[in-house]
């Protein structure tokens, strides 16, 4: 009896190996079969490459103490970390519930002479994006000035942008902004600071830019 069972077990192991191999061998070819994989992508025909990139890695590489809370408050949709990675930066910012004021400022809603949407969407940048709470601390008088002074608003906004995409491990140091002035990025990991402003959540990827949410509006030294 024992031998019979053992023989059957041996045959069984040989068999399961065979089935295992057949299953593994099949999945590599399965996409040859006509399979309507047409429902799994984003709700807009965005570029496949971008969406594919975002599906795995968007959440990795983030720094800042506010990332977890942001991800929890925005688990999916266009304003989520993953959703933002599929859109160009100005579009992505407009879907972010913490960047309402900044979005108004760059899209001509604060000052109709200042519309940087195409500009910001059109190259590779690192953007320090002040959150709404940061704008709330700017004196009302200054905001009123910015509504009229398009040069000053443009100067302040471009002071928040650095050419080229800088990841969290590249961003530290003195960075020359597209405004011409420099910003000083200090610290590392979850404790990054930009000219003294705290990075709430940084390294957020959009289609064309890397974004660092910060808790203060940066002022260029020669702003007047």
């Amino acid at each position: 009896m024992n031998t019979s069972i053992r023989r059957i077990l041996v045959a069984g192991v040989a068999l399961s190996t065979t089935i295992g191999l057949a299953a593994c061998g099949s999945d590599s070819e399965s996409d040859t079969a006509s399979e309507p994989m047409d429902t799994s992508m984003a709700a807009t025909p965005s570029t496949a490459g971008e969406s594919m990139d975002s599906s795995g890695g968007a959440m990795t590489g983030l720094v800042g103490s506010g990332c977890a809370a942001y991800a929890e408050a925005n688990p999916d949709g266009a304003g989520s970390v993953e959703g933002m990675s599929a859109d160009p930066v100005a579009t992505a910012a407009s879907n972010n519930p913490m960047l309402k004021t900044l979005t108004m400022a760059v899209s001509g809603e604060l000052n109709k002479k200042v519309n940087l949407v195409d500009t910001l969407n059109g190259g590779e940048f690192t953007v320090f994006a002040p959150v709404d709470d940061a704008f709330a601390e700017v004196p009302a008088k200054t905001i009123d000035t910015l509504k009229k002074d398009d040069k000053l608003l443009t100067q302040i906004l471009t002071y928040h942008v650095v050419a080229g995409e800088l990841s969290p491990d590249q961003v530290a140091g003195e960075q020359t902004t597209v405004e011409g002035g420099t910003v000083d990025v200090t610290g590392s990991g979850d404790d990054l600071k930009v000219n003294g402003a705290n990075v709430v959540c940084g390294g957020v990827k959009t289609a064309n830019a890397t974004v660092y949410l910060i808790d203060q509006v940066l002022m260029p030294a020669d702003a007047k």
Partner: protein, 509 residues
Amino acid sequence: MTKQSDQEKAELRPVRGALSGLVTAALALGVAELAAGAIGRSVAPAIVVGGAAIDRTPRWLKEFAIEQFGEKDKIVLLSGIFVTVALLAAVIGVIATRWRRIGLTGAACLGLIAALAAATRPQFEPIDVVPSLVAAVVAVLGLAWLLSLTAVGHSAGRRAVLGTSLLALAAMATGVAGRQIQNLRTDVAASRRALRLPRPALPAASLPEGAELNVPGVSSFYTKPADFYRVDTALSVPKLTTDEWKLRIHGMVGEELTLSFDDLLARPIVEHDITMTCVSNEVGGGLVGTARWLGVELAPLLREVGVDAKSDQLVGTSVDGMTIGTPVSAVLDGRSALLAIAMNGEPLLPEHGFPCRMVVAGLYGYVSATKWLVDLELSRFDAFDPYWVRRGWDQQAPIKTSSRIDTPRPLSRVKAGRIAVAGVAWAQHRGISQVQVRVDGGAWQEARLSAEVNDDLWRQWVWEWDAPSGSHTLQVRAADSSGEIQTEDRAEPFPNGSSGWQSVLVTVE
């Protein structure tokens, strides 16, 4: 002793039966893989049953599956099929030890079901049933042989184990070999290398002088296939060889037609330069590109099959099930509408739809440019909503007149003095007649245009700017051949393409 042994045998009979069924099924699948390899088509039983199952799965269930399993959904499905087959095979094996004929019939039925599944696939050819039928024969013979080994005699146990092990090894060997042969035979790269492009009966004219302005920083007139934008829903690039490719034209037609790739090549080959645009392109975006397309005119083909006068939508389906609907009137109105097999002198790249895709001038890709095209159905807009239309995008979407500043780059710093502001403008099937530029909201200035090649193509433009220092906003707009200026009204890509004048901030030092 003998008595005890008999009793033992009776106890073990179901186990042996189940094992015989499993090993036989494994061998049948292995040999079928070999047969699929021999005919060079991906039609092994599990693959066709899986494909047929997906064909029949309701949309909500598909979406649920993709949500649950993501990209692993195919592996999950195939694993499910293998487990089901294993269970059925085991049950059949047990039944066969008692009712031999019923068991063997069951084994044959499994193979026949797979053959039926194969016959319902969109790419079906009669030879596709062969692997499944082979599996049926192997299953019957294998099971009968194993049963005969255990049926009688003193050393039945030993022989049964030897026989079972032997079949298991054979299953493994045939399965692996068959899989490898299929990988080789369905090698898209090899198929692409082997494709000799025919010479066009109607070659496109070479570019006239002045078609390119040669301003540094402006998009090159022809876009390299590797740089050409890619927007599709395929999670992995579908693999389709010229041998496997077939195009069925059916629906509201006089007579249905199926073309092989050789049939396609036997038709008059034409060449057209066409600029394509994706509906998702944002103002100033890069989802636009130009290529010289080689292929077969679609309009004569449709006239051959006889389009019903009531049919107003041509639905293209890709090998992975993507659907795209094009107005029949657009395809038949004399514009360039191709079944394209090559771009810029090379067979299509796999990610651009090898071996055959549709290209129609003047329409956004999501309503005209099916890749890996295998099926064209003459239908009606009120009868069928293709993929993107089901997601709220417009049924019909002609390309909007658009213009883009390529240089200087946004937020770049340039030296004061004479600067070339330049880019491209497109209004396919209408043509571009004018491009204007302005600085800081001032008066519009006329840009110089490149020579017009045909109205399906973009034109380059340049405007010389005496740039004073400071930060400046450049804006561009174009007019089509009717003189209509592109709208200033901003629109998001959804639901029928973006619009608005692009503006770019630069700093002049």
